[in-house]
Subunit: 311 residues, 2 copies
């Protein structure tokens, strides 16, 4: 008897997006994670295989981001006793600031829902995916998970209640994401941040964020260019990323709309008004980093409005 | 020979709008200021009469908000030698938190432009109006002036360069503005504010602001209701306004979308999804304050999308 099975893909994502620390994120086309789900041989969910993770991820369902997200969902619909097997194929780097654990969590719960015949809407899977990512990094937040699962540019009003809205992505908007192969711990990247800011900084940064949101609805690229600036987090974290300001200068001189840190870094990103500029930004920064003997990956992508999907 | 003359009206406005301290403001239909402008008898701009100001406003053009705004504009177009007379009729309260000096500045420059046959677009009069208001309160900011002059809900990305955008006003959105007759100095109201805030507060408040902007574009009243909350400024300033939280409770229990302080106070405002709720909020709070022997004025109005206009 042949087993029923299916495969899903969840994309990487860029959290914070310069203007919206902890409240904005967007998905890119790739890289991402693949999860294969199929009939199992014993009652309960099991993870039978993990590739691309250099043995860093646990096979135990309760301790695995993807497994935990799927299990919470299966419990919710009363199907956690069913025999199910999962294979996880990590196809993106860890600790890169591109939402690797978020992609696993999104893929895990999405796969389980597909396997069960979609009893729930994708939108309603978000809490399970957030619970899954929490296993990996301890925090309950959706700025990577929500775009990875749902696609697009996501604004989160409140992480606790997961009150989110998908913002419009202007046609032609491209992202260039550069992952320099250096390691930053998210913990360190969080610890470096001052827990107070000046009221004036709040006024300026919230003006940038609100203007950026208006710019997306108006599809006004020049408004995006004027507002895409982080005066609070970037100046504190840039020092953890070698050559940050030189990369930024390259991106802006190539015509990028803006340049900042992806999530907690070390990846950085640019938004660009077309693929030509996005490709140029990627090539120039790749050449610059290579010249400095810093290995790096460049990903050029439209804003990914699809999110996680069945392959 | 009969003199050429005309009259303009500039409306009151509500700055901050709960979610956008120093970056948001909207105009209401009334109250407001009237300015009459006509041919003068001697070279130069003169203010010949001021009513409704209890002699608090100077007749000297250079020291008068409306006069200064008009004069800067006339200088800009090289017409400050022309014989012009202005009458200012204050038809709104001072120090109420409703942008009284902003309305005067907007009316002054708008009247001068009309008188000259509209050599400039209204949008381009903003810097002159901001300069006029600066005479009154020392600060260069547009959160009252821009809505008073241009109408609607205005978002200011940057007060220095006056980079602004007009946001959509959902049809049916009403404001109830209550002015309790107590006095608060803007200076005191500014001094009471802490100049630092927690990063967590910034995240939460900027999420509210960005979500509110998205809500306006989506015309989603429930999103407005969830986001229309000020966790930074209101808790600090509410103590200057007697019975603030009781008024807020009345407004919310009547179904208002939100309730907060207008500008630096003492006026307060509600946004409501229709005129019926807005009227009820006004009546109930009026009765409540009257019971406490606090004289007050209530203004119920749609969001005013017209701004300053020729009568």
């Amino acid at each position: 008897m042949s087993k029923f099975g299916l495969k899903v893909f969840a994309p990487a994502s860029v959290a914070n997006m310069a203007v919206g620390y902890d409240v904005l994120g967007f998905a890119i086309d790739g890289p991402g994670d693949e999860i294969l789900i199929r009939d199992g041989t014993k009652p309960g969910l099991r993870i039978t295989k993990i590739t691309g993770a250099k043995r860093k991820l646990p096979l135990e369902v309760e301790k695995n981001t993807a497994g935990f997200a799927a299990l919470q969902f299966l419990k919710h619909i009363g199907e956690d006793g069913r025999s199910i097997e999962m294979e996880i194929h990590k196809k993106m780097p860890f600790g890169s600031g591109l939402g690797s654990s978020a992609a696993s969590a999104a893929a895990g719960v999405f796969a389980a829902n597909e396997y069960m015949g979609c009893p729930m809407e994708t939108r309603d899977l978000l809490p399970f995916a957030v619970a899954g990512e929490q296993i990996a990094d301890g925090a309950w937040h959706a700025d990577n998970v929500a775009p990875s699962l749902l696609g697009g540019i996501i604004l989160i009003r409140d992480n606790t209640s997961l009150d989110i809205v998908r913002l419009p992505s202007p046609y032609g908007l491209y992202a260039t994401v550069i992952y320099p192969h250096i390691s930053i711990l998210t913990k360190e990247s969080r610890a470096i941040l001052s827990d107070t800011i000046k009221l004036d900084q709040h006024i300026k940064q919230s003006g940038n964020l609100a203007f950026f949101v208006a710019a997306l609805y108006k599809l006004d690229l020049e408004m995006i260019r004027r507002s895409l600036e982080d005066i609070i987090i970037e100046p504190q974290r840039a020092k953890l990323i070698p050559h940050f300001y030189e990369m930024k200068e390259i991106a802006l001189s190539e015509g990028a709309l803006g340049f900042s840190i992806s999530g907690a870094g070390p990846s950085v990103f640019s938004l660009c008004e077309n693929s030509l500029i996005a490709e140029n930004v990627g090539e120039k920064i790749n050449a610059f980093l290579s010249d400095k003997k810093i290995a790096n990956d460049v990903f050029v992508s439209k804003i990914n409005n699809k999110g996680t999907f069945k392959l």
